[in-house]
């Protein structure tokens, strides 16, 4: 007697496919929305440069490092240790350190803390390549603390030597 194996019949979805796509899209959007409230902060380390304003106004030679921490939520303050790195004898060395500096956010820009007065004295006339690096924490208004770090990228030359005073 021949053996007959019953053919399996796959279960067909009872929900129309258009509705499935719609539900998936809705779920994606909801998850995106929740994910969007996750606090995130970024650090923008600008390349160290010779401060022409300090030279013109105060007759002082200095390399300036600007750093900004920006979050998607309000922050109390940012605490950073930063340094200006230089190339000397084909090696990267720390030319100047800024240790644990704090900058508060302002009422005008509660999500931003700006470090705009990090200066290193230098000797004009000697071209040296610099880059800036920084790492630290952002202290948010909600009590959370987020680690941040960044650098200014490749070394760029400035006609002033730090550490020659």
């Amino acid at each position: 007697m021949p053996l007959t194996i019953p053919k399996s019949v796959p279960l067909l979805p009872k929900v129309p496919s258009i509705a499935v796509v719609g539900l998936l899209a809705a779920q994606f959007l909801i998850l995106q929305g929740i994910g969007g409230t996750d606090p995130k902060c970024t650090l923008n380390v600008e390349r160290p440069h010779y401060s022409t304003s300090l030279s013109e106004d105060q007759n002082i030679d200095a390399i300036k490092l600007n750093i900004t921490s920006t979050c998607n939520v309000s922050q109390k303050y940012t605490q950073l240790s930063a340094s200006i790195q230089k190339i000397q004898n084909n090696r990267e060395t720390t030319a100047y350190s800024f240790v644990n500096e704090i900058r508060n956010s302002t009422a005008k820009s509660p999500t931003v803390a700006s470090f705009k007065n990090l200066f290193a004295p230098c000797l004009r006339g000697v071209s040296t390549s610099y880059r800036g690096i920084a790492r630290g924490f952002v202290y948010l208004e909600n009590g959370k603390k987020l680690a941040v770090e960044g650098d200014s990228g490749k070394f760029v030359a400035a006609a002033c030597l730090i550490g020659a005073q």
Partner: protein, 166 residues
């Protein structure tokens, strides 16, 4: 204009070395004033001090002292900026407070300098997390033995001499 007066105008443009020397200089010239201020704070629980273009108000609560600061003629107050814990020994507390006041004066000068020809860049209140009178400042909060060595090697005599010259 003396170098000290220049510092009161330069404020936030001062190098780290200059701020540290300024701290030492303020501690030196304001010794009697800081002692009086400390006694006032310990007796009354609050005291206010104006320097450069800023004002600092100190508060004592539960043997902890903190301060808030504002620019003169401004309503925007920066509160609870630094804090120190006091002991039960009054004389020791006065010594601690002298250093604390000098550090806070440097903070206020750096943030609220006397308006000059250099426009102030817009940024929030800024200061070094570790005060100049702590080993943590020299050790970057890590190895305190290295901090002692670094402190002994730190010479601010040149800037201090400039500051002392009237």
């Amino acid at each position: 204009m003396s170098y000290f007066e220049e510092c009161l105008t330069s404020g936030g443009l001062l190098f780290q070395e200059e701020r540290r020397a300024l701290y030492k200089y303020l501690l030196e010239i304001n010794k009697d004033f800081y002692v009086d201020q400390a006694n006032l704070l310990l007796d009354k629980g609050t005291t206010t001090r104006c320097i450069a273009n800023g004002e600092a108000t100190y508060f004592l609560k539960d043997r902890k002292v903190n301060y808030s600061a504002r620019q003169l003629n401004s309503d925007e107050i920066q509160s609870e900026l630094r804090e120190i814990k006091l002991t039960r020994i009054r004389r020791y507390n006065i010594r601690k407070l002298e250093k604390f006041f000098a550090q806070c004066d440097v903070d206020v000068i750096s943030n609220f300098p006397i308006p000059g020809r250099i426009p102030k860049e817009e940024s929030g209140y800024g200061f070094n997390a570790y005060p100049f009178y702590t080993l943590a400042y020299y050790a970057n909060g890590r190895n305190y033995l290295k901090g002692i060595v670094k402190k002994l090697r730190t010479k601010d005599n040149e800037i201090l001499t400039k500051l002392r010259t009237l």
